[in-house]
Symmetry: C4
Subunit: 265 residues, 4 copies
């Protein structure tokens, strides 16, 4: 079981990866359930993910309120995390982001977002679309209380991702690594599907059997998963914060050549 | 009320943010009304926004002419700013830019540009398209005098943005932060709408009620707005120029890790 | 009149700008007619534009052959430059590039590439498409001799740009600054037109009168033109090589803040 | 004939180029047949291509298994390389990648991917699409054994590239330089073809004669090929690892100006 220090470090790594991979920008956030107390979770205070440091991480309850006294402003939309973690005991990490490539699928809902590339399998067979207006009418479109958060969690159901109409998405994973991976590949899958539609003709989606086979096969520290996590952490400049609770080796990149880290797409 | 030094610094920050966020490139500019004399405004001399420094800022009158002696060349299109600030006492900052993603909506006008994503609400419910040829026939397509500027301001009316056919856009905000935010999100909203159209089927736009709720909720220094401004300023390398007239705290990014600032999209 | 040293420096600046602005990549080149001998021109030896240095510049005749002994390999396609400079005494600089965004217009010729944005006016009212196969049948698609170069020059006629089917484009300008500016804005105009087509509905092109008004108004050292040239040169890291034969001032960027030069789009 | 040291260095260069040119990201790999023992090949252990160093290169047999004792994890999909090198004695290097722009052509197969730009000629006249489900039903979509690898090699046949439905592509070249070049231009050709389709109307593909003429003309160390290889290696920060078995000169980039290497598109 991760120590709290490693949990905090993981959260910083995850924030930086999501920023580096263009999943989040000025806005967006990620949470991780407290490893020892399922009614609490960790998330940054209100600051952009690219700037998150260890001292920014705060502990909240499943009501979205801070556990300890906290003067610094918190994310207005922390209720997304509180409500999903409350509704889903199987979930330990949640991401909310506005990643551009998924927005059209929440706006023009005639085309369901489904996996078409193998790395998109983690988004699951079904990606529901939640529209805040259905229950709450005209709002500022932000999830700013538990009632809205719970309505979103209800639409998410047992799925991995819910699109939020005209806003972004919320994703849920069994671990930090899994929710980050799924959130990174969600926009790529969206791009591939949009471009396939533009080409025209019959589209071959991943089958249910393929989605299930892939989800059964990957664990957070299986080599294929860890390779990407390690790569993304190094790209984001936080490779030195990596830890592995399973005792596996963390290879350090060599020093033969200066690494020119560019963004991935 | 901001001191003049802070106003000049804000203008430098704003120029750099617009450049860093790809709203402007070699061309484009931003103005800020003089806080004490509404018949004057500040803008850079003719230099690309990415290179603007404090010494480049000049003071112009609402006729677009310099208040003090000025030998260095001025922006040919400063009349956009003069005319809009003249027509709109409620407006304190104006941006003119050629951001690529909005150009198609001025060229193929069958599709009105309207908010489809929540961060696009700031562009307002209506985005008129101004065509210089309607009144002036064949020109070099630049706004180079007050007559043309006033015709543009008339088309803008009470709206936040007017597209300029085959050229770019002009945006107007109640403050520097608000006009920059709206100008950054305008191209993102345009991209989301274009991609939604490409997907096909019914498009859900933001409702008038949603647009109004969002505009009522945000002030320039509300935490959600300030977070983005602070983030963008740091990305653009001008975080140290930030000031807040409302007395709120400006958090300094930590120094745990080297910040690898990439562009946002 | 530029000294030869300034001519060589200009050519290095132009190569670096074209690389930085993504007009050229591993391939592509730019030439400049000898200011004193119209039957000669300058171009780099065969090296990628981003790497061109002063020592790489060679002098060729209008037959595409070196004037002085030259052991280093030359661009296979230097005949594009030789033939256009031969056919067009009014032209002093030529660019050949494969810029991605113009390629579709040479491949799917049903949509003529015409100016739709004001900065695209420099490409002229008419952009012919040259297909090497029309006269030469199956080839390796490269212009590797004077016969092919002259056929391309014939298709270019009096225009500023000719697309080369399945290959790229050739552009011709009255000066170095003008051919670079037109070559930078050509792909942007192509993107705007393609996106306008995707939006659907009637497209408003620049009128002939607008194109003419803009071409009459701009000179290589007019302030609006120089501002972009100066900006691009600084972005490309060669600002210190800039010279102005018209005696105008070259402003040096300030040193208030570290310049984070990102690519423009 | 290259010494083994040069072979290993070439493989490191190739990995870095593929990463820098956005052909691969966290995933993807490249192999090179042993110059002296055709039943062996070299490939990195399981690490992202951008991080590959000389010590990461391992030697495998055509069964995909390591020749020497190896504790570090290997690429799960090394069987792609083993099977293609086994089936094709004419091939000496293989790339597997997920490059985004080719994915739609494997998902919406109504549009065959064929050369439309001259640099796309190297992908060959025919690009088959392999679907792992045809023979193996529901799987995790990865090629994780020789049976799957051989089925892919059978679909590839004598061609240069096979798309892998919902996954990526596998490319085969007579040399390292050739397979990297083809893999870099494959996504560019895909983008040009997709955009040409979006423009609409008749599309002009490269003719068989053009494809053949280009393939006959280029050798790995012909000047046109070497120029790109040298440029890409320098962009990727590994220019100092370059070697040329044909005795040709390797020019060193000058030091007049700081090189600001940006990504190519």
């Amino acid at each position: 079981m991760s120590t709290l220090d490693n949990v905090i470090a993981d959260l910083v790594v995850a924030n930086r990866i999501l920023a580096r991979e263009d999943v989040v920008d000025a806005y967006g956030h990620i949470s991780l359930r407290h490893p020892d107390n399922p009614r609490h979770f960790f998330i940054s205070r209100s600051v952009s993910p690219e700037l998150v440091e260890r001292d920014d991480i705060v502990e909240l309850g499943l009501d979205g309120q801070p556990v300890h006294e906290e003067k610094r402003p918190l994310y207005l939309e922390r209720f997304i995390h509180a409500a999903i973690l409350e509704a889903r005991p199987d979930i330990h990490a949640v991401v909310h982001a506005h990643a551009e490539d998924i927005l059209p699928f929440g706006i023009a809902q005639a085309t369901p977002l489904r996996p078409v590339i193998h790395s998109g399998s983690f988004i699951g067979a079904n990606v529901p679309v939640w529209d805040i207006a259905d229950k709450f009418g005209d709002t500022n479109v932000l999830v700013t209380n538990m009632a809205q958060g719970r309505d979103l969690a209800k639409k998410l159901g047992k799925n991995a991702v819910a699109l939020m109409r005209g806003h972004g998405f919320a994703s849920a994973g069994r671990s930090m690594i899994e929710v980050v991976r799924l959130s990174v590949y969600l926009p790529r899958n969206a791009r591939a599907l949009m471009r396939a539609k533009m080409l025209g003709g019959k589209i071959k989606y991943l089958s249910k059997g393929e989605i299930d086979a892939r989800n059964a096969g990957y664990s957070p520290y299986s080599n294929e998963t860890w390779r990407a996590w390690e790569y993304w952490a190094n790209k984001a400049g936080v490779g030195d914060l990596l830890t592995r609770p399973d005792g596996g080796t963390i290879y350090k990149p060599g020093h033969d050549h200066k690494h020119d880290h560019k963004h991935d797409h």
